[in-house]
Amino acid sequence: MSEVQELIVNMGPQHPSTHGVLRLIVHLDGEVVTRVIPDLGYLHRGLEKLAENKTYAQFLPVTDRLDYLAAISNNLAYCLAVEKLLRLDVPKRASYIRVILAELTRIVSHLVWLATHALDLGAFTPFLYCFRERELLLDIFEMYCGSRLTTTAFRIGGVPKDIDGQIKQKIEEFIQIFPSKLNEYEALLTNNKIWLDRTVNVGVISAEDAINYSLSGPCVRGSGVEWDIRRAEPYCVYNELDFDIPTGRGVGDTYDRYLVRLEEMRQSNRMIKQALEKMPEGNLMADDPRVVPPTRDKVGTRIESLIHHFHIMAEGFNPPVGEVYQAIEAPKGELGFYIISDGSPKPYRMKIRVPSFANLQAIEKMCENGMMLADVVAIIGTLDIVLGEIDR
C-alpha cells in the first residue's frame, strides 16, 4: 500500500546554485517539479528609500551595488536618467567611452553567467577559462577607475577619465584575443552531449509568454523576440555602431539563451572595436557649471573654483521639477531609472526598474511541463539573476 505525497524542498537562501540569497520553495512529485515559489528579500537594503535621502551625485556610488557584476551599466543608466532630467548633453567622446566600458561590462557579466551556469551543470573547465578572461577586463576597469567591481566609472555630465595610451592598448589587446577565447568556450560546450542534454528543451518559454512576463534582454531574445533597447531606442552612440541582434533558434529554451549570450559577447567585441576606431577627439565632461564641478587644477589655484566645487559637492544641484524614465539595455535586460524631481537637490522618488526582478518572476512558468529538480538549477542559471538588483 502506498500513498502519493507531495514533497516540499526548501532550496536556499544558502545554496551555491541559487546565485546569491534566493530561496525557492519547490513542490515535488518524485523528482518532477509541480510548483516553484520564490521567496525574495534577503538582500533588501532599501536603496530606493536611501535615494530619497541622498543628493544626485551621492547616489551614484550606490548604483554600483545593484547589479554588482555589471556596475558600469548601472552607472550608465543612472547618469543618463539624471542627464535626461537636467536636459544635459554629454560630449561625443564621453559617450563613446561610456559605450566602450558598458560593452566591456556586458562581456564581464556574460562571462560570469557562463562560468557559473556551466559549473552548476557540471562543466568545470569553462569556469576557469571565463574567469581567466574576466580577470583581464577587471584589470582594465581597475586601470580606468581604480576599482574592479564597485566602479562608479562615470559622472553626471560625462566621464572622469580618458581612454588613451595604456588603457586603450590593453582594450585593443583584449578584443584582439577574445574571439578566439569564445571559440574555446564553444568547443567545450556548444556540441557537448552532456551540455545539450541539460539545456535543450529545458525551461522553455514562448515569445508570447516571455513578453507577457516582461522578460527582457537575452531572456526575451532567446524566445525569438528581436528587441534590443540599443537598437529600438538608441542612447549614447549606439545608432552609430553596427551590430546584430542574435535571437537563437526560436525555441525559447536554455540552450537558445546560451547561444544568444555567446553571440552577444561577439557583437560587443565588434562594437568596442568600432567605437575605438570612431571615437572623436573632444571634452570628457559637459560644459555646464550647474552640475559639473571645475577641474582639479582650477580648484587648487582659484578661490572661486574652490567655492564652486564645494557648493556642488556639499549642496548638490537643483534639477528642474519633473519626471523622467530612462531605460538602457543592461547585460541582463531592461534597466530603467524613473526619477521624480521636486526641484530640490534630492530626488523626490526614485524607482529602479531592474531586469532580474521581472526575469525571475517567469521561473514559475519555466518550471512547468514536467521539469526535474535538477532542471531548476539550469533555469536559475539561464535567467542570469543577481539578487543585489532584485532585492535592492
Binding site: I211, N212, G322, Y325, G336, Y338, R353, F357
Partner: protein, 173 residues
C-alpha cells in the same frame, strides 16, 4: 505612432476616464483609478497601440505634494510604464489612490504585474483588488509599516524590534 496620435486614440475611447495629459517630456496620461483595468486592456489589446510590454509599475507617495497644497488631494499615485515592442513607443499611465482605498490589479492583462503590485503593496500598503497572491514580497510577512511612505523614518528601530521578537538569542551557559 506619435505622441499626439496616442493621445487621440486614447481620448476618443476614454473621454470621461482621463483626468489629464502631459506630453512635455515622456508622454503621461492620468486616468481615474476605477477605469484602470479597462484602459490597460484597451492599450494592450488595440493593435494600433500594441502596448504589449509592461516595463514597470511603481508607487509614489504624494504626501509632500498635499502639504504644499497641490491640486491632487490623493495620497498615492500608482504609475505604470508600458511599452510596445512592435511599435517602439512608451507611455506612462498614472492613477491616484487615496489611503484606505484599493485599485484593480492589471495582472489579467500583463502577468508581470503580479510581483510589481506585490512590491507596491509591500512598500506603500496600497491594496490591489483581484490580485491572485497579494503578500509582501521583499520584507517579512509580519513586518509593521510600509517603508517607502514619506512618513516612515529613514532610521528606525523597527528592524531591531522585529529581530528581537523573532530570534532566540544566545543564552550564556
Amino acid at each position: 505612432m506619435s505622441k499626439q496620435e496616442i493621445i487621440k486614440a486614447v481620448k476618443t475611447k476614454w473621454t470621461d476616464a482621463i483626468e489629464g495629459v502631459d506630453d512635455t517630456r515622456d508622454l503621461t496620461i492620468r486616468v481615474k483609478k476605477g477605469n484602470i483595468l479597462e484602459i490597460c486592456r484597451f492599450l494592450a489589446c488595440t493593435p494600433e497601440l500594441g502596448f504589449d510590454y509592461l516595463s514597470d509599475i511603481c508607487g509614489v507617495d504624494c504626501l509632500s505634494d498635499i502639504s504644499r497644497g497641490a491640486v491632487s488631494s490623493s495620497r498615492f499615485d500608482v504609475v505604470y510604464h508600458i511599452y510596445s515592442i512592435s511599435k517602439k513607443h512608451r507611455l506612462r499611465i498614472k492613477a491616484a489612490v487615496n489611503e484606505n482605498e484599493s485599485i484593480n490589479s492589471v495582472e489579467s492583462v500583463w502577468k508581470a504585474a503580479n510581483w510589481y503590485e506585490r512590491e507596491i503593496y509591500d512598500m506603500f500598503g496600497i491594496v490591489f483588488d483581484n490580485h491572485s497572491d497579494l503578500r509582501r514580497i521583499l520584507l517579512p510577512e509580519d513586518w509593521k509599516g510600509h517603508p517607502l511612505r514619506k512618513d516612515y523614518p529613514l532610521v528606525t528601530d523597527v528592524g531591531e524590534k522585529w529581530l528581537e521578537e523573532k530570534l532566540v538569542t544566545h543564552v550564556p551557559v
